[in-house]
């Protein structure tokens, strides 16, 4: 289906990126989940009432700590952030791929999608 060898190569790169992103984030979430179960296993759950998880557990300083001091929910959240970053990275890779092919229309379209994503993630 690819229209050129550049497209074919881009398809391979994107495919690997997506698989790696999902696998990596899944492993991080699993690791955080095991720690979470070990530490908070006996606490009661409270998802019937919505109160908003206002706290962002994840921060750069949190993941630089040794494992014993790590918050398990921060690790889960790091995994979830990796997961959310995967399709965003896919758009960036596509943009670069289109630039290599000198397809400026699609460089602009990819940039547009990226701007909407950036606004939703950082501004709103």
């Amino acid at each position: 289906m690819a229209t050129s060898s550049g497209d074919k190569r881009l398809e391979r790169v994107i495919s690997n990126l997506l698989r790696t992103g999902v696998l990596l984030s899944g492993l991080v979430v699993l690791l955080g989940g095991i720690l979470y179960m070990v530490r908070y296993g006996n606490n009661p759950v409270a998802y019937a009432q919505f109160h908003g998880e206002s706290e962002i557990y994840w921060s750069l300083s949190a993941i630089l700590k040794p494992v014993s001091e790590l918050k398990s929910r921060s690790i889960i959240q790091l995994g979830l952030l990796l997961l959310i970053a995967t399709p965003v990275a896919r758009v960036v890779f596509c943009l670069v791929g289109f630039a290599f092919e000198r397809d400026w229309t699609y460089v602009a379209i990819s940039a547009g999608v990226l701007i909407v994503l950036a606004i939703s993630l950082f501004v709103l």
Binding site: L18, N42, C94, G112
Partner: protein
């Protein structure tokens, strides 16, 4: 219930939802949210947040294979993602303002529709080569097959498709689902892109669409790590199992059975919304 009891139950429910979602082509997200709210009494907003995350995982996993095999059309996908991401931002914004009862009802209606849609017979005609100037300029085209049977296609009715995609993005952001059914309708029926390319490109687009509302969900506290963890892992494992088993299963009867299950859940969601339970 303690976390140690709750988490495995959520995992198993999500596993089943992912499995069912992948066999029926509905997607795991649209099944896991009613399951969590009806069976475990989880607030629909937490369920939506967790489901959205699982949607990114399953669609990216599936897209990896589709892209490699050349079924996803990256240009068509990228162009239409402008519409879906804008819609997703709008939908996530709506979700934080709409009352929970309305969310339940809209969810039920969308669920009913996608169950019906997935059970419809699909007729595949010859690829359509639309003579649309906008489509030509944007290179919304490609070819299917290999060897001597390469058939070219070019998308038509670009504006209609683009508008439906905005609606698909809005529903995705509002309900934390992939809204793959509506994306396929936009490409397959409105733009007359071959069905196989439509489904593969839809999968390719779902992750980016969901990512656009994920940021808003995160900052509004819809994504609870303790709940999202078993949901994401469960739905992901379930849909992988479904994809493995799909070629070896008698899908037609299965779809009919699952269609009834999903229909019952949909009605339950609507009733829940109306009675405020």
């Amino acid at each position: 219930m303690t976390i140690l009891e709750f988490t495995p139950i959520v995992f198993v429910i999500s596993l089943f939802a992912g499995f069912l979602g992948s066999l029926t082509g509905l997607g795991g997200g649209v099944v896991v949210t009613p399951a969590l709210t009806i069976l475990l009494g989880v607030d629909i907003r937490y369920a939506i947040g967790a489901s959205l995350v699982s949607v990114i995982a399953t669609s990216s996993g599936a897209a990896a294979a589709y892209v490699r095999d050349g079924y996803s059309n990256m240009r068509i996908g990228m162009f239409l993602e402008i519409a879906t991401t804008l819609g997703a931002v709008y939908g996530a914004f709506l979700a934080t303002h709409v009352p929970v009862s309305a969310l339940s009802i809209v969810f039920g209606v969308v669920l009913l529709h996608s169950a019906w849609q997935s059970n419809r017979q699909h007729k595949e005609g010859a690829p359509h080569l639309a003579n649309d100037p906008l489509s030509r300029r944007l290179r919304l085209e490609g070819s299917l097959g290999g060897g001597t049977t390469i058939e070219k296609y070019r998308a038509g009715r670009v504006k209609t498709g683009f508008s439906i995609m905005f609606a698909a993005g809005t529903l995705s952001g509002l309900l934390g689902i992939g809204s793959g059914a509506l994306k396929v309708i936009a490409m397959d029926q409105a733009m007359r892109i071959p069905f196989k390319v439509s489904t593969a490109t839809s999968n390719f687009m779902i992750g980016v669409t969901a990512a656009a509302s994920a940021g808003i969900y995160l900052s509004r506290g819809y994504i609870a790590p303790g709940l999202a963890m078993p949901v994401m892992l469960g739905v992901l494992c379930g849909s992988l199992m479904g994809a493995r088993l799909l070629p070896r299963m008698e899908v037609k009867t299965l779809r009919r059975v699952f269609g009834v299950v999903v229909g019952v859940m949909a009605i339950e969601m609507i009733v829940k919304g109306i009675t405020g339970g």
